[in-house]
C-alpha cells in the first residue's frame, strides 16, 4: 500500500503544476522534444549552423585557397567526377579561380547582408508596429500609410533607383533589403498589438495606472516575441534571395570579392557550353541555404501551431 502511494505521489509530482519549472525552461524543453521528432527542423538547424560556421570561419578553414587568385591555365577546370581533380573539388571559373573557395567567400557576404538587414528591419519594424498599434490615432495612421507606400515600392524597385543614383555597394544592398522588409514586422506587430490591446491583462495594467511605456515594454513586447522570431527567420530567407538577386544584377558586391549571385552572373555565358558548374554550384549554394532557413521557419511555425493547439485542448477544454 505504501509502495503504491509513493509511486503515485511521484508520478503525480512529475506532472503536477507544483513541479512545473518556470516557463522559459519548459519552452526550451518543449522545443527540444519537438525538434527531435521533426526531420525538417533538424535539417534546417544543421544547414543553418553549417552556413553560419563556414561564413564566420571561412578564411581560417584549413586547405581553403585564396578566392581571388587567378590562374588562366587552370580556367574552367571541371569538378571532381567530371574529369577534375581534388586540387579544385568543385572546379574553377573562367579566370581559373577555385569555385569552392569563392563559394565560402560568398557565404560571408550573404550572411553579413541578410542578418544585418533583418536585424535593422526587425528592430525598426517592431518598434513602429508597437507604437502604431498601442498609441493609435494619428501616429498609427501615419505609420500605416508609410507601410502602405513601402508596400507599393519594395525591394528591387527601390534598389534600382538607389543604385542608379549612388552606384552599387554592399551597404546599399543592406539598406534596400532592410527598407523592403521593415513593414512586414510593422504590420504583423501592429495586428498582434491590436488584439493584445483588448486583452484584459492590458486593461488591468492600465487601470492600475501603469504608464504606456511600461505597458508596451513589459506586457506587449514579451507576447510578440515568438511570432516575431518566426518572422525574422522567414525574412532571412527573403533577404538571402534578395542579396543574391542584387549581386546577380551587378548591383551588390563588386569584383574581385565574390558573392553567389555575382558568380552566377559571371558564369552565365558558360551555361550553354563548357562551364555549367559555375552557375550550378553557386545556385545550389543559395538554394540549400535558403532551404535550410525555410525548413527552420516551417518547423518554428509548426511548433507554434502545436503549442497553440494543445493550449486550446488542454487549457480551455470547454472553449
Amino acid at each position: 500500500m505504501t509502495a503504491t502511494d509513493d509511486t503515485m505521489a511521484s508520478e503525480a509530482g512529475t506532472g503536477a503544476a507544483d513541479a512545473a519549472p518556470p516557463e522559459g525552461v519548459t519552452v526550451l524543453a518543449d522545443l527540444r522534444s519537438h525538434l527531435r521528432k521533426s526531420k525538417a527542423g533538424i535539417s534546417g538547424i544543421i544547414i543553418c549552423s553549417l552556413f553560419a560556421l563556414v561564413a564566420i570561419l571561412g578564411p581560417w578553414l584549413p586547405l581553403i585557397k585564396d578566392p581571388t587568385k587567378q590562374s588562366l591555365p587552370d580556367r574552367l577546370t571541371p569538378p571532381v567526377g567530371w574529369g577534375g581533380t581534388w586540387a579544385h573539388p568543385l572546379g574553377t571559373d573562367q579566370l581559373g579561380r577555385d569555385i569552392l573557395a569563392r563559394l565560402i567567400d560568398g557565404a560571408r557576404i550573404s550572411l553579413l547582408v541578410s542578418v544585418t538587414a533583418v536585424i535593422i528591419a526587425a528592430i525598426l519594424g517592431t518598434v513602429l508596429g508597437l507604437v502604431a498599434g498601442y498609441i493609435g490615432g494619428r501616429i498609427d495612421t501615419l505609420i500605416v500609410s508609410a507601410a502602405d507606400v513601402q508596400m507599393a515600392f519594395p525591394g528591387v524597385l527601390a534598389g534600382l533607383i538607389l543604385v542608379a543614383a549612388f552606384g552599387p555597394s554592399v551597404w546599399l544592398v543592406i539598406i534596400v533589403v532592410a527598407i523592403s522588409s521593415w513593414m512586414v514586422f510593422t504590420r504583423v506587430g501592429r495586428n498582434l498589438v491590436l488584439t493584445l490591446k483588448t486583452s484584459l491583462f492590458v486593461e488591468a495594467s492600465e487601470l492600475s495606472g501603469t504608464p504606456s511605456s511600461r505597458v508596451m515594454w513589459r506586457h506587449l513586447l514579451p507576447n510578440l516575441v515568438s511570432s516575431l522570431i518566426t518572422l525574422c527567420v522567414l525574412e532571412l530567407a527573403a533577404a538571402i534571395l534578395a542579396e543574391s538577386a542584387f549581386a546577380f544584377l551587378g548591383f551588390g558586391v563588386q569584383p574581385p570579392r565574390s558573392s553567389w549571385g555575382l558568380m552566377i552572373q559571371q558564369g552565365r555565358n558558360y551555361v550553354t557550353g563548357d562551364g555549367w558548374w559555375i552557375v550550378t554550384f553557386a545556385g545550389l549554394a543559395i538554394a540549400i541555404v535558403v532551404l535550410g532557413v525555410n525548413l527552420l521557419s516551417l518547423w518554428l511555425q509548426s511548433f507554434n501551431d502545436v503549442a497553440e493547439r494543445e493550449q486550446i485542448i488542454l487549457e480551455r477544454p470547454g472553449a
Binding site: 512545473a20 516557463e23 486583452s199 486593461e203 488591468a204 487601470l207 495606472g209 514579451p222 516575441v225
Partner: protein, 321 residues
C-alpha cells in the same frame, strides 16, 4: 433615494455615448443614459441586465476608465469626473476592477509575482524583500500559497487565476471594487468558491462592490441592493428583497421568470418574453422596453418614464406598474 448618508461612490445622471463606424457610416451608440447609482461603504450593489444594457460601461464609468459624455462621478464626496490623467492615476489606488475572463486577465509571459507587484512598482516605493512579502501576503489572502508567485499563469486553472486577479486588485487596499462578470467564465463548482471568497473579503478587507452580472441567481446571493438595466436605462433599483420578492417593472418580472431554476419541481407554464433586444445604436423612443413589453400603452412610446419611488428605496421607471 434611500441612498446611504455618505455614499462611497456615486454617479449622477451619467451618460456615455460614443460613435462607431459601421461599414462606411458613423453611428452613435447610446451605451448609457442618465445613470444614477450610489454605493455605500461596505455595501454590495448588484447590477443586472442583458447584453448591450450598458452595465459594463456603467462600471467602467464609475472607475474613470470611460469618460462620461455627461453627468458626474463622485468619489468620497469629491467630483472626480474631470480629473486629469495624473490625478486619476492617484485615484487608482482606491478603485479596482475584477474581470470576467481570468484567462486573458493575466499576462501569460510574466510571472505571477510581477503581475501582482506591478501596482506596487507604479505607486509605491516597496522593493525587494518587502515587495516579495507583500505579494506573498496577498496570495495567502485569496487562498493561494506564496509559492505561486514564482510560476507563470499557464500553471493555474481558471479558478486559481481568478484568485490571482483578485489578489492583484487588492494590492493597494482599494475601498471600491467593480466585479465585472467576475464568475461568468468559471465552472459552477469553482464559481461558488470565488463567490464565497468575494463575500468573505468584503468583511475581512472592508470592500464595497459593484457586482455586475447577467446571472440573477448569483446577484441574489451576494447583493444588498440590486439595479436592473435595459438598453442603457435603469429600469428598477431596490433592496435585495424589493427586487426578488416584489419585482415591479415588467422587464424585471420577465427577466426573473426566464432564469431556469435548477429544480425540476418548479417547472411551470410561463410565457417567454417575445422579441429581440433592439440595438443600442437605434434604441426605441420613450421607454426602451416598449418593443417587448406586454403592458405597453401609448404613453410608453413617446415619453421616457422617470424613476419614481414606490416604497422606501425602491425605484421603478414604468408608466404602467
Amino acid at each position: 433615494m434611500n441612498a446611504p448618508v455618505t455614499p462611497l461612490v456615486e454617479s449622477r445622471d451619467v451618460s456615455v455615448h460614443y460613435t462607431r463606424w459601421v461599414g462606411s457610416r458613423r453611428r452613435t451608440v447610446y451605451a448609457l443614459d442618465d445613470f444614477s447609482i450610489a454605493v455605500a461603504p461596505g455595501e454590495t450593489v448588484g447590477l443586472v441586465g442583458e447584453s448591450g444594457c450598458g452595465k459594463s460601461t456603467a462600471g467602467r464609468a464609475l472607475l474613470g476608465a470611460v469618460k462620461p459624455t455627461k453627468g458626474q462621478v463622485i468619489f468620497e464626496g469629491r467630483d472626480v469626473t474631470d480629473l486629469s490623467r495624473r490625478n486619476w492615476r492617484a485615484m487608482r489606488k482606491n478603485v479596482q476592477m475584477i474581470f470576467q475572463d481570468p484567462y486573458s486577465a493575466l499576462n501569460p509571459k510574466i510571472k505571477i509575482r510581477d503581475s501582482i507587484a506591478e501596482p506596487f512598482l507604479v505607486h509605491t516605493r516597496k522593493r525587494g524583500a518587502e515587495l516579495d512579502a507583500a505579494v506573498g501576503e496577498l496570495l495567502e489572502t485569496v487562498g493561494m500559497t506564496a509559492g505561486a508567485a514564482d510560476k507563470y499563469p499557464h500553471a493555474f486553472s481558471g479558478g486559481q487565476r481568478q484568485r490571482i486577479v483578485i489578489a492583484r486588485a487588492l494590492a493597494l487596499h482599494p475601498s471600491f471594487v467593480v466585479a465585472d462578470e467576475a464568475t461568468a467564465a468559471l465552472d459552477v463548482s469553482i464559481q461558488a468558491q470565488i463567490v464565497n471568497l468575494l463575500v468573505e473579503l468584503k468583511d475581512t478587507v472592508g470592500l464595497s462592490y459593484l457586482f455586475i452580472s447577467h446571472n440573477l441567481a448569483v446577484v441574489r446571493h451576494v447583493s444588498d441592493r440590486v439595479a436592473i438595466m435595459y438598453l442603457g436605462h435603469l429600469m428598477e433599483i431596490g433592496s435585495h428583497h424589493d427586487i426578488y420578492e416584489n419585482p415591479t417593472h415588467p422587464y424585471s418580472k420577465a427577466l426573473l421568470s426566464a432564469v431556469p431554476v435548477p429544480d425540476p419541481t418548479t417547472r411551470g407554464n410561463h410565457e417567454p418574453l417575445k422579441g429581440d433586444l433592439p440595438s443600442p445604436m437605434d434604441p426605441p423612443k420613450g421607454c426602451r422596453f416598449n418593443t417587448r413589453c406586454p403592458l405597453a400603452v401609448d404613453q410608453c412610446f413617446h415619453e421616457r418614464p422617470p424613476l419614481t419611488e414606490r416604497s422606501s428605496g425602491h425605484l421603478v421607471a414604468c408608466w404602467v406598474n
